[in-house]
């Protein structure tokens, strides 16, 4: 075998290896969460809040964390979407100059890379300053901040992939910027916009550090925006930190439920993206 063929095979092997590692990691995570979490999965886990002595192995469930996480992420996703989508669209060169857009992108990328504990600390300082306690509202606001850079940059990339000629053609018909954006750019970029939402939701629902101080934790389901709220990542965190084996197993159950929720959101968003993408131009 000659050198070039050897090279070719070597890199093929490397790629297969990395692909294998990725799949192995995913399979490993799912398997371990399933094995360790399934044993304590039950209806009462999903539908009941913790009862007395829950954290010592007593009865109850983590409905507080499930509902809390859904509240937090639903609120944050809506707020982040309201802010991110217009920003992503405004980053087109017809709206903002290229220089300003590039600076905005840089800022967003830095925010994207900022550790979530920093968001949490920042949110906490702001809340103290505003005189706000750890609450659903506080959690939603910090999660929104966490999600905005991810959502905006993902959508921005999708919007940038819209062929320039496609936009030019719309403009050539005498459309305004707004009409082109709405009728052409948004339709063409829709699957990418959905992906942006998925990425942001995935990060938001799984993040523990940012909501540790800002949302708090409680055994109750919150009744108002100003009540503290439990969440699944923190349910995993707190329960795996107890010395009681039964409670540790419940941490994995919480992780399992978190995984399933992320999976369902992913599938729904993909279906939605697919449903509305039949008209896009390739």
């Amino acid at each position: 075998m000659n050198r070039r063929k050897l090279e070719e095979n070597f890199f093929k092997f490397l790629m297969a290896l990395s692909l294998g590692l990725v799949f192995l990691a995913l399979a490993g995570i799912i398997l371990i969460v399933l094995i360790k979490g399934l044993s304590s999965l039950s209806w009462s886990m999903i539908f009941e809040t913790p009862k007395g002595g829950y954290y010592l192995g007593g009865e109850g469930g983590i409905a507080n964390a499930i509902v809390g996480s859904l509240y937090l992420v639903a609120g944050a996703t809506v707020l982040a979407l309201i802010i991110s989508l217009p920003v992503a669209l405004a980053l087109q060169k017809e709206y903002l100059g290229k220089r300003f857009a590039d600076i905005t992108r840089l800022v967003l990328d830095i925010l994207w890379g900022t550790p979530s504990i920093v968001y949490g600390a920042f949110g906490f300082v702001v809340m103290v300053w505003l005189g706000l306690r750890a609450s659903l509202l506080g959690g939603i606001i910090v999660l929104t901040l966490l999600m905005i850079p991810i959502m905006t940059r993902a959508m921005d990339e999708a919007v940038r992939l819209v062929p320039y000629e496609l936009k030019e053609m719309a403009y050539a018909m005498g459309t305004t910027r707004f009409e082109t954006t709405l009728a052409v750019v948004l339709r063409q970029a829709f699957p990418g916009v959905c992906t942006g939402v998925i990425l942001a939701v995935g990060r938001g629902i799984g993040d523990a550090a940012s909501i540790l101080f800002t949302a708090g934790y409680t055994d109750e389901i919150p009744r108002s925006l100003f009540d503290p709220v439990a969440s699944l990542p923190l349910a995993v965190f707190f329960q795996s930190g107890t010395p009681v084996p039964e409670v540790q197993a419940r941490a994995f159950t919480a992780a399992l439920i978190l995984l399933v929720i992320v999976l369902v959101i992913n599938i729904v968003a993909r279906l939605l993206g697919w449903r509305f993408s039949k008209n896009i131009v390739r």
């Binding site: 060169k93 017809e94 290229k98 062929p163 000629e165 496609l166 936009k167 030019e168 053609m169 719309a170 403009y171 050539a172 018909m173 005498g174 459309t175 305004t176 009409e179 009728a183 052409v184 339709r187 063409q188 039949k278 008209n279 896009i280 131009v281 390739r282």
Partner: protein, 269 residues
Amino acid sequence: MSRIEINELCVSFGRNPVLKNISLSIPDRQIICIIGPSGCGKTTLLKSLNRLLDLNEDVSITGDVRVDGQSIYQSRLDVTALRKKVGFLPQRPYPLPMSIYDNVAFGPRIHGLDGLNALSGGKAGSPAAGAKTSRKDKDRLVEHYLTLAGLWDEVKDRLSEPAAKLSIGQQQRLALARVLSIEPEVILADEATSALDPISARLVENQFRLLKKDYTIILVTHILRQARRLGDYIVFLYMGDLVEHKPAAEFFGDPSDEKTKAYVNGDIS
């Protein structure tokens, strides 16, 4: 009918001059072919006529273009109205990301055209403001323009399908229907057949021949034979300079400039 006057037009991208001092009066209701070697500024000249150059970032334009006596580079001009009057057919026919039907219905909707002028055959008059076009009228409008573009028979049974599913030849005729649907007076066509197979190209050329009695068609082409087949009036550009422009018979029969002679004979390309 629109008259287009170009007066000492200079266009450059960055520091690179693309069009140098072009002055030209474009006759109406004819097919005007802009020819010349690649990179000579044909497309730039075309796009300067409905301000599509505005979308480029580092473009600078001096001189003047007048459409119906109105200077189109004045800052207060309604660009959307200009582009409605001077339609554009691109080289690669990107369909809008919608159904075939909506591709044609989109233009009339944004410009508030009810299409009654087009359907009654007259071209004068303005659309009734605020009048809601009924679904039936819209259907007739879509059929009208698709027929005019020579596409109706091929798509009449699948109007709700994505336009992206059409072949590229069909997409170009759909683009033509879309241009016609905004009731322009001038159609700018940028090598509108170059991406097409010979049969589709012939179909589009035939539509141009039919349309020239009502429209001024300005066609950029690098195919000399196409200019011979279609052109009533030829504009020859070379390296950003306007070399020669005259009626086709004269241009091909009796070119006066040395460069034109060389180009027509195929000595330069």
